[in-house]
Amino acid sequence: MMKERLQEIREKALEQINATDSLEKLQEVRVAFLGKKGELTEVLKGMKDVAPEDRPAVGQIVNDTRKSIEEVLEKAKKNLAASLREAQLKSEVIDVTLPAKKNNVGHSHPNTIALEEVEKIFIGMGYEVVEGPEVEFDYYNFEALNIPANHPAKDEQDTFYINDKIVLRTQTSSVQVHEMEKGKLPIKMISPGRVYRADEVDATHSPCFHQIEGMVIDENVTFADLKGTLAEWARQYFGPDTKVKFRPHHFPFTEPSAEMDVTCFKCGGKGCRMCKGEGWIEILGCGMVHPHVFEMSGIDKDKYTGFAFGIGLERIADLKREIDDMRLLYENDIRFLKQF
């Protein structure tokens, strides 16, 4: 009698579970059968009417029934959850080609990008980055660099003067002298910064621009070291296939002096508009520190030798990025800056 009843309950429960289509209803079914006032619980309450010797067997049947209803319920719940999740995912399809929500981060000035690349290369080779004043004593900008009074380079057309003794530096080479005067050797430094020349503003001139000075002073530094260092820098900055060419030149504060050309990074040396068909682009001036410069800075010229170089930052920054008008660099049009 009890057995039939339990069988009945089980079948009824399964039927109801199968007919359920939501988690809430499933829960109702659980309560209806297994809850405190559920049908199965009611049956258990009738156990007191069962003969004591039959009780274990009936109890077993009740438990089995409960277990089997629970199993089915659990399975149904899983299935239902899975199909609900699936339906949810289906309903949440988005158009991934819709526009992104950007943070609009800002951009570095092309000069800075170039400078950081150069700094990174030289720091890797053990160079310290130092700075010096832009408004500078004539002595550091000229005299101590072997450019005595009345040298043509000092002509007023080129140099901005504050007074007889103070100028706007025309070259970052002035920092060389400050570093040498510190007397701490060896020296391995680069010094980026602003320099000034009295040039009217046009596409290729600006009265204010940037240079990166470099200098190494130690025992046994040679012109061959200068060549090797700059060739390595050029390969790292312009690309591994870059070749360099050194030509004799003249700077008052180096001897021997040279200018360095690199193979055109646009055409690779075949000749194009950028290199004016030459395949080479002039990049920097360099040389071995002049003995007279050592003498003036109090460094023993018989013990030490050194090399120095000066890179035009705008030149290397612009050439690499194909910026054809220097005025763009100081206008700060956001449409320009955002391209880098």
Binding site: V105, N150, F160
Partner: protein, 809 residues
Amino acid sequence: MNTSLNWIKAMVPGLEDVSVQEFGDAMTLSGTKVESFESLDKNLEKIVIGQVESVEKHPDADKLVVCQVNVGTETVQIVTGAPNIPVGSSGQKVPVVLDGGRVAGGHDGGELPENGIKIKKGKLRGVESFGMMCAIEELGSSREFYPDAAEDGIYILPDDAVVGSDAIEYLGLHDTIYEYEITNNRVDCYSVIGIAREAAATFKKEFHPPVVTETGNNEKVEDYISVDIQDTELCKRYTARVVKNIKLAPSPKWMQLRLASAGIRPINNIVDITNYVMEEYGQPMHAYDLDTIAGKKIVVRRAAEGEKFETLDEQERILDDSMLMICDADKAIGLAGIMGGQNSKITDDVQTMLFEAATFDGTNIRKSTKKLGMRTDASGKFEKGLDPENALAAMNRACQLVEELGAGEVVGGVIDVYPKKKEQVRITFEPEKINKLLGTNVSVEEMMEYFGRLEIEYDKASNELVIPSFRQDLLRTADIAEEVARFFGYANIPTTLPSGNTTMGGISFAHTVENVAREIAQFCGFSQAMTYSFESPKVFDKLKIAEDDALRKTVVISNPLGEDFSIMRTLPINGMLTSLATNYNRRNKDVKLYEIATIYLPSENPEELPDERKQFTLGFFGDGDFFTMKGVVEEFFEKLGMTERVEYNPEAGKNFLHPGRQAKMSYQGVEIGYLGEVHPDVADTYGIGERAYLAVVDLPAILAFANFDRKYQGIAKFPAVSRDISMVMPKSVLVGEVEKIIEKRGGALLEKYELFDIYEGAQIKTGFKSVAYSISFRAKDRTLEDKDVSDIMEKILSDLSEIGIELRS
């Protein structure tokens, strides 16, 4: 310096087979840099000398004629419209470009097309024409250099032209002009001889400079003139010779052509000779009409202060006592090394002249030309500092040419006043030191071979190199090392890396702080600007800076490009506002810029350098407000480890900012910058049509506070307790005051506080605002009890009520 290759080849015959490209490349690599070169005949093809046999009317065109022209191999028919070949004329010798040939340009002398103009046979108004007779402009030159060419029309050649021969050869246009960049240490290379000498050394060829012999009749120059140098510092040497019975005439074609190749216009034989020698030797010369010279005497002296003098360009010059004059017994006759006088210049009637080749002090000449605002070819050479040894050679070369050209009769003897002969330079020969400096292993023999090419001699007895006088740049072993390097070849020097001690690379702390500023700015959407360091003094008025403000004291450039670039900036915002305005005018939206801008604050003592300070300067218009800007600077301070409270004082006193929307920032009592909304007047002045915001942080001021050390603080294990307070306070009281109290009273348990509501209007009495804060407390080591927090809150509330802030019920 521009020079013709043919002129060089005349002194270095071995260069005959060198191509124009090879020549340029090799010269550049040995140190005489070729900037560019151009072959004059690059677009001149199939051009011969023809002779007109007959000229007839064109049947259908009034302005055209039909010519039969003998071109040597045949007679061709050519139609032309040139006005100087009239109907019925014949016999003219002319350059003729044949069918299929090419000319350099049009007859109007306009800009030359890159590839010239191809000439083909064709019909002109129905009559066949098999070529073209050429004007000088069509050959790529002009009457300036070929003064005998017709002003308008075909170039009718002199009688000596040979019919059928190469017209380009005849006109000397089979030549290439090189433009050299001569560095200022190589004064000797501002001459054809100097470049030829370098070319000979570069190509290991023989060098044949002109052979000059002293010429002249048996008279004595001393009977004509004497020379007295009164200032031997400014005039190191003065040589003079006299030429009589002058016959002015055009100089010969070869001389005209060479002058033309250097861009010098031929005038007459005498002028051309002085110019020719100046090009060839690099030594300027001057010719005076001797009959205008009083007292048979030349005196070289300084001008009197304020002395007036008329130069031969008919300008009156006012001189000062630093300038050197050439004078006769009575008067000044020339401005030494710059320009002769109107009173002594060579005219068409000249009978006897005085040639001058002198050496003047370069610096003095340069200063004088600058003061006078006049620069001449001669002064341009002198100011480089010429070799006095060159003067006499040039003088004798000029007189030799006078005789060769039959331009006059040279009087015997030379006046040569040379008070202090230049000393020979000797440099100890140190081959090991040279190799050590270069990183090479060049043998002594090899070095000696280079020195031979350079005319440097070796004195074995003293182990010294004897430097030729024209090489004024060779003074030390380092200079000799460069000579060795040049001829060993820069390309052949090995490439190595320095082998010395390892050094640590890196950047300074200040540089690191700058990088953090840039990183934060860019993360917050600001792009990096760069603006000029100099600006106009008018900027201060534009920014409403008070008349007596210290910012108006600036570093002033004494020779600026113009007023707009005449002072070094003392505040960084003009550049920023200008850049914002540029963007606004170009209709760019939401523009955010920053600059690491240096300002220059003058020292009290003008002998000292100014204080250069880098200021992190931000500006924007568009999306955002004052608090957006405040957020950026706070992100920056936070990144620098500045964890204490930054004070914002609305009494910033910046006239260029909105009076109610500005703040001065200070940290631990030190002023570190300011921020605010741009004053609408200032925005109007700059032309920014939207609200704009600025912030300036003085980087040197915060350097002491920046710190990148971070220690792990643990992550909270115990719960926080939070309390919300809502209060009503007078509008004039800053919420910053509330925050100060919360911080002060909150003590160690205060974790954070946050303003979550601020409101004015309905339900709040006028002149007041409602402000609500959420304050949370937390202890590191325990769960807070109600009482802990209540005690603190009580103190906060009591302090608040002391400054008139009531809790909102």
